[in-house]
């Protein structure tokens, strides 16, 4: 039996990984919940967030508090990229079959991956933690970096923020009305097209933010887009695509299964996650907290 301190460390590690994934998955889930588009390129937005964050940092001064500014700037750029893509290209596909949307977002994955290689090359890049969070604390005999604590708090904060946006703000009410009856909302005078664009932008922002914030923990490499989209898909399959709390739960479960799976199957802990996903797909295809599609 491993020591409690070690188990606690695993738990916190899983929690950190889960909250990183939640930040990204929340955007994917939001976009799907509102626009009914499954955006394969969400992982590419994440990758662009990482590269852009690195780029801004390299301009304003690596290893400084400008990290925060760089992360926000990168996320905002990714949001603008998302808005441009939705406004100019994607919206023309809503009336087509879903297969075309999937193909389109898949094409985006390939195009954006090549763009990233052209701009930033194929080497590894990395960013250091901001000085304010470069320390660590001891909790129950485990060393926990401040930065990880920040990520563990950021996840719930984003969840709460999104919930407030959807359920306590006017824009959120409009978005929920659009999901229920898009045509009727348009007939009442709402410009549903631009509402969708805004939501797509928010979803892309979250992906970009996740990418920019992950840079002190993971190095930036080509292929991180595909790696994360696989993980994020698993998260939303477990939790329920389109459901905010489902996505949150899915991310928590993913993180813990991965962290503790390592103890049982040291090299193959990802298989524990795949197995869980397979079981959920068979027993409850719409995820733990999701709703069956119409």
């Amino acid at each position: 039996m491993p020591e409690p301190a070690f188990l606690f460390g695993q738990f916190l590690g899983g929690l950190t990984a889960g909250m990183f994934l939640f930040t990204i998955a929340a955007g994917l889930s939001l976009i799907f919940g509102v626009l009914r588009v499954l955006n394969f390129a969400h992982g590419s937005f994440y990758m662009f967030g990482a590269y852009l964050g690195w780029q801004v940092m390299s301009w304003v001064g690596p290893g400084t508090e400008y990290f925060w500014l760089a992360a926000l700037a990168a996320a905002a750029c990714v949001a603008l990229l998302g808005i441009a893509i939705e406004h100019c290209l994607l919206r023309h596909l809503y009336r087509r079959e879903e297969l075309y949307q999937l193909l389109f977002t898949y094409a985006l994955v390939l195009i954006l991956a090549d763009c990233a290689k052209i701009i930033w090359g194929t080497g590894q890049l990395s960013v250091s933690r901001p000085p304010s969070l470069s320390g660590a604390v001891q909790i129950f005999g485990t060393t926990v970096p401040h930065y990880n604590l920040f990520i563990m708090l950021l996840g719930p904060a984003i969840a709460l923020g999104l919930w407030l946006l959807m359920h306590r703000s006017r824009v959120g009410r409009l978005v929920r009305a659009a999901v229920m009856d898009r045509e009727m909302l348009g007939a009442l005078g709402a410009n549903v097209g631009s509402l969708y664009t805004i939501m797509f932008g928010i979803g892309a922002f979250l992906a970009g933010l996740g990418g920019a914030l992950v840079t002190p923990v993971k190095s930036i490499v080509p292929g991180m887009d595909v790696e994360v989209i696989v993980e994020v898909f698993i998260v939303v399959v477990i939790g329920g695509l389109g459901s905010l709390w489902g996505t949150f739960l899915g991310a928590l479960v993913f993180g813990q299964v991965l962290a503790f799976g390592i103890l049982i199957m040291p090299r193959f802990s990802i298989f524990a996650v795949f197995a869980l996903m397979a079981i959920i797909l068979i027993v409850r295809p719409w995820g733990l907290l999701g709703k069956p599609l119409r």
Binding site: R170, R173, L174, R176, A177, M180, D181, E183, M184, L185, G186, A187, L188, G189, A190, N191, V192
Partner: protein, 235 residues
């Protein structure tokens, strides 16, 4: 009289199935006009064509003299036309208050209608303010859809089959309430299969048949002349 809304030779189709074959009609400011006709003659389609929900393939829809055919529905709503659909279509998972609030925000048209005034007009809604709209009765949902459209401060109200599926007593109350709106000066276009409801309210009537206007004239004429009514509507 220059009409507030005028349809000139409007043709509309759903894909390949053609439904309207040249509808022309006029509505003056302050008038209450009804569209009569049997099942499937194109009353709803006429309203959808006005609202831009189904684009006319030919013809003109003139709103205060401007051709709005081809505009997006939200632009038409913001220009001052309010649509109350036949199957009610409340936002089922939003509360009554949220339904009204969403409509106010959606159209962004200033005017006399506020949530308080909707509650005054339909007092039953006040007590249901926090209830999810999907749980309301048919009559309550009908009041809510009308109230919701009024929150957009329309100058013209398109009312599609407001009495459909409601108990006679509820219909009587609705009739009074819509009558009150008319007395306040709101212009109304009413579509109904049943003649009772509409002929008690309307000033003029158009009778549709297979996507064309079969008859038009004062509502009183149809009200008083049972033989004419029978010939046109076979009721």
């Amino acid at each position: 009289m220059s009409a507030l809304l005028e349809l000139q030779d409007v043709h509309t189709a759903y894909g390949l199935s053609r439904v309207l074959f040249g509808i022309s009609l006029q509505i003056g400011a302050g008038e209450c006009v009804c569209l009569l006709g049997r099942n499937g003659v194109g009353k709803t389609t006429t309203m959808r064509s006005i609202m831009g929900l189904t684009r006319p393939s030919a013809g003109r829809v003139l709103w205060k003299g401007r051709d709005i055919a081809g505009w997006m529905p939200h632009r038409i709503a913001r220009a001052g036309i309010g649509f109350v659909p036949e199957d009610r279509r409340v936002f089922a998972e939003l509360t009554v208050w949220e339904n009204l609030d969403v409509a106010e925000r959606a159209a962004q048209r200033r005017g006399p209608w506020t949530v308080a005034r909707v509650y005054e007009t339909f007092p039953a809604l006040r007590d249901l303010a926090g209830r999810q709209a999907g749980f309301l009765s048919g009559g309550e949902q009908q009041m809510l859809t009308i109230g919701r459209t009024l929150m957009c401060n329309p100058e013209l109200l398109l009312l599609d089959e407001p009495s459909e599926g409601l108990a006679p007593l509820v219909v009587d109350r609705l009739l009074e309430q819509v009558g009150a709106l008319k007395d306040q000066g709101l212009t109304i276009l009413l579509a109904e299969q049943g003649v009772d409801f509409s002929l008690r309210l309307a000033d003029r009537a158009y009778v549709l048949e297979k996507g064309t206007v079969r008859h038009s004239g004062p509502a009183a004429e149809l009200r008083d002349d049972a033989a004419l009514r029978h010939r046109l509507l076979a009721l």
